[in-house]
Each structure stands twice: as structure tokens, then as C-alpha cells.
Amino acid sequence: MIAALIIVFREVIEAGLIVGIVLAATTGVPGRERAVAMGILAGVLGACLVAAFAGELAGLFQGSGQEIFNATILLLAVAMLTWHNVWMASHGRQMARELKAAGHQVKTGERTLAALSIVVGVAVLREGSEVVLFLYGIAAQGGTSAAGMIAGGGLGLAAGALVSGLMYAGLLKVPAGKLFQVTSGLITLLAAGMAAQAVIFLQNAGWLEFFTSTVWDTSWLLPDDGQGSLGLFGKMLHTLVGYTAAPNGAQLIAYGFTIVLILVLMRMVNAPATTPRGKHA
């Protein structure tokens, strides 16, 4: 039961933090609950599919199917987050105005709901397939009684949801005028961390073999392995901002490149509004 609790907790937190950021970033946007729920539902269904065909999936690409699959969905999420931020940058002031106005209906935000729904789906899919395989394994072996497994899994789910909910509540304390700036910053770091993680999967698939040596190692200070409370904190930072205890060169390049790319694109689309010609602003 304890094993089920810990594993489910760890995976739920990882997906839950991402859902929390997406919820905060879509504050006031009509239809966001539906979009997030659809993302979670699709993610859970996808996780069951991936778990059921884990063997077949792994067999693709000369045995590197799992890595290529993970890298692909992570890069898809990076693209969606990038698009969201670029859209936000071009409509940020309008959205902040809508959020502060009576009714708090941020209609402008509806455009990127589908993209964020995909991000939620990817997060749930990645973490969920592990949970499904793990719980299925326990159930199949009968090592733990089914009741204990359900209890452990349920407690892990509740605890993970609670931590993610606390982070979401904390984000909502940000003043309305600043909220979209904060979530946009968080999404930039989230995307950068995902890009760095995708690099790891491509390296493990043997598709990307340069700058693979470790640049620094701070695992003595803050490990990111999810073991123990410090390790769990490190892992949460890993999910949120891409903290890696011992990054290699290619990871750092991907991380930095993603941040620069998003910032440059955001500035490009934002530029017209700040020139004298932008009378509508």
C-alpha cells in the first residue's frame, strides 16, 4: 500500500503541477474547465493505451520506441506552450484588462485553450502510463491486496492533487494585472525544462550524441531523483522549471535555446503595439 501511495503521489504531483500552471494561465477564460478535463481524460485514455502496448512501443525504432515517443510528445508540448506564450504576448494587455473588468471573462484566451489542453494531455499521459503499469503489476501479482492498492493509490492521488492545488491557490494570489506575466514566465521555464528532458530521451535513443558530458553536478546539494523529501522537492523543481542536478551540454543548450526562442517570438509579436503607429493600444 505504501509503495502504491508513494509512486502514485510522485506521478500525480508531476502532472498536477503542470495542470495547476495551465489553470492559472487560463484564469477567467470561458470553457477552460472543459478543456482541462478533456486533456486529463485524453491523457488517462492514452496512458492506458501506452501501458497496454508498452512492449510493442518499446520495440519500435530499433528498441528505442519509448524514448522517441516520449521525446516527440514532449516537443509537441513545447510547441504548444510556445504558441500559447506568443499568443499571450500579442494579446496580453487585452487579457489583463478583461480579467480585471466586471465578469472576469477573458474571451481572448479561448484561442489557445486547445493547445493547453494538449499540454495537459501529454503531462497526464507521460506520468499516467507508469502508474497504470505499476498498479497493474501489483494487481497481477497479488502481492498486495486489491483493497490496499486502491487505498494507497487513492491516498497518493489525493495527496498529489492537494500539493498541486496549493500551488494553484498560491498562483491565484498574484494580482490580476500581473497574473498573465507570471504564468507566461512559468510556462517559458516549463517549456525549456521539457525541451531539455526531450534531449535526454533523444540521447538515450542514440539519436543525439554530442555534448553528452555532465557540465556540473549539484546532486549533493539538491538531488532531482524524487527519493526522500529533498529529492522530491528537487523533482518538483525539475517538473516546474527544469531543474537538473547534473545537466549535460546538450540539455543546457536546449534549455537556453527554448527560453531565448520564446522570448524573441514574444517580443516580435508584441513590437507593433509599442510603436507610435499602434494607435489601437
Binding site: Q66, G137, Q141, W207, E209, T258, V269
Partner: protein
């Protein structure tokens, strides 16, 4: 819409552009996972060269070969095998575990 396509293209392009495949130093090391224990649980590889572990999961349930120091997370279904690539390692010890049964499934890669 243009900015959307641009964003997606630019996000994916640089990473897809540099695929190079590398050669392995030696034959893969065969490792079996049975009753949630690795055997051998100590795996020696040559330092500074990529290597490969051929992991046979002889148990009924899946497990996840997990190592933060090796940067590997790989789910292996029951009665399946997985070829796990290990990047070129600096000399040292790199612990790994079967995350689903971490109490017993522990091992270490030693690069020397």
C-alpha cells in the same frame, strides 16, 4: 496563424537537425530482473565510451529501470527485454533501481 507555424517549426527544427548515431564500445551486458532483483546487480563498463545493457525482465509485472545519475527512465513490461543505452560515463559509480520494486531491485553501474 503565421506566428503559430513559425513557433512550432522553430521549436522542433534545431533538435531534429543533428541526429548522429554512435558506435558502442563493447557487446551489450546482459542483465536479468527476476523476483525483483537484478543479476548481476553490479555492472562494469568502460569509462568514456557508450555501452548498452540488455535487460530481460523475467518477472510477470512491469518495472521501470530508473537512474537519475544515468539519466535513464525505461519501462520494461513483464517477460520483455529492453536495450538500454548508456552514454559515455566519467569514471565512477552510477546507482540504478527498478522503481516499481525499489526495496529489492537495486544495482550499480561502475565505469572504469
Amino acid at each position: 496563424m503565421k506566428s503559430v507555424l513559425l513557433a512550432i517549426l522553430i521549436a522542433i527544427f534545431p533538435i531534429s537537425g543533428f541526429f548522429i548515431s554512435g558506435a558502442l564500445a563493447d557487446e551489450p551486458v546482459e542483465v536479468h530482473l527476476k523476483n525483483h532483483k537484478f543479476s548481476p546487480s553490479t555492472i562494469k563498463v568502460k569509462a568514456n565510451k557508450p555501452s548498452m545493457i540488455l535487460l530481460y525482465n523475467d518477472d510477470d509485472g512491469a518495472d521501470e529501470f530508473d537512474s537519475s545519475s544515468l539519466k535513464i527512465e525505461r519501462v520494461v513490461p513483464g517477460h520483455a527485454k529492453a536495450n538500454i543505452r548508456i552514454r559515455a560515463l566519467a569514471p565512477g559509480k552510477y546507482p540504478f533501481m527498478g522503481e516499481f520494486h525499489a526495496a529489492t531491485a537495486q544495482g550499480v553501474v561502475i565505469a572504469e
